[in-house]
């Protein structure tokens, strides 16, 4: 290919020169160029190397179906592989390079693999070294693993950067009455029709200019400009550089907008790309059609491209792709490009397969009854061999020198978006193409996407589609538009030519691969696709699908429609995963929930940790302390003096109404109907299937007023459950539930000095003596600073303890009163780690034990279950398998050697029986200040009674380590609970 920039013409702005880099060397172009047109004009015929065979590749098209000019754009963390140079807008400073080649695409050492092409046919990956000749001796040797690693490195497309993506992305929402995809003649007319009828219209165009096909025809530019102005006046929302990558249920479309990919120095506040979710009343698909090529020997050489693409380079970009042009055609559409190229100064010969072709345009030679059989030329086409049809195929018919071979073998409507919505494509033999079938949804095809080939009727087609989108009847123009019919052609083979002919150039799938698949028994089109990987590259088969189907049909001896088609799936073109994630990355991957005491905790030295979505204090290290020293000190201080812990993240649900007590009575396993006002009760609730769902304390604040607390991570689940019960099962109950988790700041004040600490902070006249506020009592509270709230005598730590609840914003003020009083009494602040230690010592269960697989009896809470009332889960917890004696039961664990440690997650088993699932597992471990050694909680088959006197082993095969343990009661400290009372 000896391309050159034309002196005049094109839509490029010749006053704005652009410098860019290609493979490290400086190159030049103009504003309005794509990277492909600029490379073409700069004399770079070879811009890529193919996937398997490392064959030199050039520019094959002018659109997103590009299969040759696939390059890497950008440097470092912003390097993006597999960019189609034909779709990349040129900008100042753009840096691009070839990929899948060493040292570069022009002189790639990898091309040596082409010499072994015979061994790399379709399916070689699955067969070599795995038992088939000629490498059957490799089976079972492990050689496959090693050769596979080599192949992986040799084959491939571009390489992605390993660095984090420095760009930000965004997601956004929109709605419209009519969404029009594509701004060619049909799309522009459709958008204008709907907008002028008063509809809210969004017009989406993947290119950087509106116009589609019109951009390649200078005679249409004035009319195109008028249309664009009219669209703006009519209020159409135009989205350029935006691809509709998928259509989804209920009129939803996914769009990706390239916000800054074309800017040299974008504002850092802008996202690089933006993904839109559009909810459209109706959608018009005016996505055009792609020109087809033919499979013949050497059809992937640089210098072979589709005819319309060649014309586009001349008219839109002002680059003549070649001086001596051969166009192999089987339909009328070749003649427009032939005239354009001749008019730009090239010598043009059209080989028309048909015996009675149209008249030759000026400067064009037409040879009837001819097509192309071979293209030759190592780094670019230098000559082609003609072919003429004979009875059973083709025969050679002489040679032509040329530097550009164009293919015009028909059109394939871009039906992908319809395929996303189950629109079946039907084969039209007369047009030798697939046309989109009907849709049950508000989805309307227009223009070339509907098989309309001539421009005037494309506009009419767009108008009709818009009318149908608005609910009016409007017949669609008939597909077609050629004067003379097409002569279908998919492959040219002449005897004795064995050089490769490509069907899917991106994946190096050849015509012989398709025939091989058929010979090996893969007769379904779905198997053809997956076995050969035809259609599985980044173009999703835009180039090769129809040819592949035609070859398969021939092999099967059937017609194309009988072979079937695979479905296209989103995305239409590749979408960056970062764009889909939008702002939900890094720390924002999930929301972070903070308690009202968050800043106060940090200011007082808390080291924080994640508990579900919440940030909670983990421990409060003093100088020189790590976590181990801190939590041991904190736990000991709570038992000896007093400690304060932020428990604001616990779920809190207001349960109100005349039937509130009855409701709670049904939901909990134990009785709540007669809970007195001013008392709290620990409750456990089960799922329908009899397993424990959650636990917490519920307080009765009034006759019809309760406050339910749940675990931190169970809060949402319980709230949903309560709403489900009330709305779907027991609508007769008059109960309202409302989440009040965020309304309160709450702390646990625990330890022998807890009461005096709190008393020092209460308003005058307050009485929280044991008589006034006994164990599990609840009362209104007034702090010395006037803040009103609740105080409940509840203990999770096992010490004398109180939970204080104040409105969230008053939390820090409460802490400013409490903390000095605690500190003066030798107290401390304590976090999750010490909270865990205290509860493990007591054998109090948390989500670590109540993990959804555990029954009431497993957790040792069977006696809580009421025998006097029915409750959720009661029926199914009585299944015989759940009542077996050997079920895993909650136990405490001591290391036999008191100085040893073991880990949560370890498997428990009898000594010498380290097999299968073992006899149980460890749920939580800690050093126990109260007992002076490591302890744990866990579950073991049969419970402590079954292991009395028998040692077990806590085994950690993945992290290493095993420890002999004694199985004891889970209540390892203060078993009778005396410390909580009085």
């Amino acid at each position: 290919m000896t391309a050159r920039r034309l002196d005049a013409g094109g839509r490029i702005d010749r006053t704005r020169r652009i410098r860019f880099a290609w493979d490290g060397a400086e190159a030049r172009g103009f504003a309005g160029d794509t990277l492909a047109s600029a490379l073409m004009a700069s004399g770079h015929p070879v811009v890529g190397r193919s996937f398997k065979y490392h064959r030199p590749r050039g520019i094959m098209s002018a659109g997103v179906e590009e299969s040759g000019a696939i390059v890497t754009v950008g440097e470092g963390a912003r390097a993006e592989p597999n960019v189609k140079a034909t779709a990349q807008e040129l900008y100042e400073g753009l840096s691009a390079r070839g990929q899948n080649a060493w040292p570069n695409v022009r002189w790639d050492a990898g091309s040596v693999s082409g010499l072994f092409g015979r061994f790399f046919a379709a399916g070689f990956y699955y067969k070599t070294f795995m038992g088939l000749p000629p490498f059957e001796w490799g089976r079972g040797t492990g050689l496959w693993m090693r050769y596979e690693a080599l192949i992986r490195r040799a084959a491939g497309m571009g390489a992605a950067s390993r660095e984090p993506d420095p760009d930000a992305y965004e997601t956004a929402h929109a709605r419209c009455d009519v969404l029009v995809v594509g701004s060619g003649p049909a799309g522009l007319r459709a958008a204008l029709t709907a907008a002028e009828a008063g509809r809210d219209v969004i017009l989406v165009e993947q290119d950087f200019e509106l116009g589609g096909d019109l951009l390649s025809d200078p005679s249409e530019w004035a009319a195109r400009d008028e249309m664009v102005a009219a669209l703006e006046k009519a209020g159409v929302r135009v989205m350029l550089r935006t691809t509709a990558f998928g259509l989804y249920d209920h009129g939803v479309a996914g769009l990706v907008e390239r916000v800054t990919d074309h800017l040299a120095a974008p504002d850092p506040a802008l996202p690089r790309q933006r993904v839109w979710t559009v909810r459209a009343g109706a959608t018009v698909v005016a996505t055009g059609a792609l020109e087809r090529t033919v499979a013949f020997a050497g059809n992937d050489r640089p210098g072979v491209m589709t005819a319309q693409a060649a014309a586009t380079y001349a008219t839109r970009f002002g680059v003549l792709p070649g001086e001596r042009v051969v166009i192999a055609a089987n339909n009328d559409s070749a003649y427009g490009p032939a005239a354009v190229l001749a008019g730009a100064g090239a010598e043009v010969t059209v080989l028309d397969l048909r015996d009675a072709p149209p008249d030759a345009p000026d400067g064009v030679t037409v040879r009837a009854g001819r097509t192309v059989a071979e293209a030759h030329g190592a780094r670019g086409v230098t000559r082609v061999r003609m072919a003429r049809p004979v009875r059973d195929g083709f025969a050679g018919a002489g040679w032509l020198d040329c530097d550009l071979l164009c293919m015009a073998a028909g059109w394939t409507p871009v039906v992908n978006l319809g395929s996303h919505r189950d629109v079946r494509a039907t084969w039209d033999a007369g047009l030798a193409t697939f046309l989109p079938g009907p849709s049950r949804e508000a989805l309307h095809f227009a223009g070339a996407a509907a098989g309309v080939w001539d421009r005037a009727r494309c506009a009419a087609s767009g108008e009709a589609a818009a009318k149908r989108a608005m609910g009016e009847a409007a017949p669609a123009p008939e597909p077609g538009g050629w004067e003379r019919p097409i002569a279908p052609l998919y492959e040219v083979r002449v005897p004795d030519v064995t050089r490769k002919s490509f069907v899917d150039p991106q994946h190096d799938v050849t015509a012989s691969d398709v025939r091989l698949a058929h010979r090996e028994g893969f007769v379904s089109v779905e198997h053809l696709k997956r076995y050969t990987t035809l259609g599985m590259a980044t173009d999703q088969g835009k180039v090769g699908n129809v040819i592949g189907l035609a070859l398969m049909a021939e092999a099967l001896g059937r017609e194309i429609p009988a072979v079937g088609t695979t479905r296209f799936r989103p995305p239409y073109t590749p979408v960056s995963i970062g764009a889909l994630a939008g702002r939900s990355v890094g720390t924002h991957f999930r929301p972070t929930r903070r308690t009202p005491l968050h800043d106060w905790n940090l200011a007082h030295g808390a080291t924080m940790t994640d508990a579900g979505l919440w940030r909670r204090p983990w421990f409060y290290p003093r100088a020189g302390e790590g976590i181990a020293e801190a939590y041991v000190r904190e736990a000991a201080t709570v038992r000896e003096a007093v400690g304060i812990c932020d428990v604001s993240s616990l779920g809190k649900i207001a349960v109100q109404g005349p039937d509130a007590a009855e409701f709670l009575n049904r939901v909990y396993v134990n009785g709540f109907l007669k809970l007195p006002i001013g008392k709290a009760r620990y409750g456990v609730m089960l799922r329908d299937d009899g397993f424990v769902m959650d636990d917490g304390t519920t307080w009765r604040l009034g006759e019809e007023e309760f406050l339910m607390t749940t675990t931190t991570t169970g809060a949402g689940r319980v709230m949903v459950w309560l709403e489900e019960l009330l709305q779907t099962r027991w609508p007769e109950l008059r109960v309202h539930v409302a989440s009040t988790t965020d309304a309160w700041a709450s702390v646990s004040v625990a330890g022998p000095r807890s009461r005096e600490t709190i008393e020092a902070c209460l308003a005058d006249g307050s009485d929280i003596s044991d008589a006034a506020l006994p164990f599990m009592g609840v009362a209104r509270m007034r702090l010395a600073n006037g803040t009103e709230g609740w105080i409940a005598r509840i203990s999770f730590s096992g010490e004398r303890a109180f939970e204080l609840f104040v409105p969230a914003l008053d939390g820090p003020g409460m802490m400013d009163l409490l903390w000095p009083e605690a500190e003066r009494r030798g107290g401390c602040l304590y976090g999750l780690e010490a909270l865990g230690t205290l509860r493990i010592e007591k054998g109090h269960v948390t989500g670590a034990e109540l993990d959804g697989r555990v029954t009431l009896d497993d957790a040792g809470l069977g006696r809580m279950a009421s025998t006097k009332k029915a409750f959720v889960g009661d029926a199914l917890r009585r299944r015989s398998e759940l009542e077996r004696d050997d079920r895993p039961r909650l136990v405490g664990l001591f290391p036999k050697d008191r100085s040893a440690t073991f880990k949560a997650g370890s498997i428990l088993h009898a000594p010498g029986e380290a097999e299968g699932m073992g006899a149980g597992w460890v749920t939580a471990v800690t050093h126990s200040p109260a007992l002076g050694h490591w302890i744990g909680l866990g579950f073991i088959s049969g419970g402590a009674a079954a292991w009395d006197g028998r040692p077990a082993v806590a085994d950690d095969p993945t992290r290493g380590g095993s420890c002999e343990v004694e199985v004891v009661s889970p209540h390892m400290f203060d078993a009778d609970g005396g410390r909580m009372r009085g």
Binding site: R583, R594, A654, R734, A743
Partner: protein, 160 residues
């Protein structure tokens, strides 16, 4: 590019009032009297009077924004004042910020409209108040969500 102002409204009072399904009309009257409006607002609407504003957030629930007085008997009342953070969004760019934040037809929300939805994994209530758009966010999520609003507003201020 469009100007956007984001600000937090200081400590507004918010009381949730829930009705029984078979006594919705009576509850509506009681609630309307609290706010001093003619009628309690229907689904997705608000009503403002001398006694405050009512937002109809659920089939059986209103949110009463007010300056702090008692609520009527016979209804389930919960004080959610501390449980929510109110963020006001105003300026020509506010609409574009909302188009990025919430999956709602913002242009279809007339003044006074109320809608609860999902935004950046957070349950939020959007109210088109007379002076500005207002996002009502659960307090525990608010710091994180505010960061999302601010980042989005920064983008809209620059343009697209």
């Amino acid at each position: 590019m469009a100007e956007v102002t984001v600000s937090e409204i200081a400590a507004p009072r918010l009381t949730q009032i829930a009705a029984w399904p078979d006594a919705l009309a009576e509850a509506g009257s009681a609630v309307a009297a609290l706010a001093g409006v003619e009628a309690a607002p229907g689904p997705g609407l608000s009503a403002t009077g001398p006694g405050g504003t009512l937002l109809r957030v659920e089939p059986l629930k209103w949110w009463w924004l007010h300056d702090g007085t008692a609520a009527p008997d016979g209804l389930a009342v919960v004080d959610l004042s501390a449980a929510r953070v109110h963020v006001a969004l105003s300026g020509p760019g506010a609409r574009d910020v909302l188009a990025r934040l919430v999956p709602l037809d913002v242009d279809g929300m007339a003044e006074g409209a109320v809608a609860s939805t999902l935004s950046h994994h957070t349950s939020v209530t959007l109210w088109r108040a007379p002076e500005a758009w207002r996002l009502i966010v659960p307090r525990s999520y608010a710091a994180d969500y505010r960061a999302m609003i601010d980042a989005t507003a920064a983008t809209v201020r620059v343009g697209s």
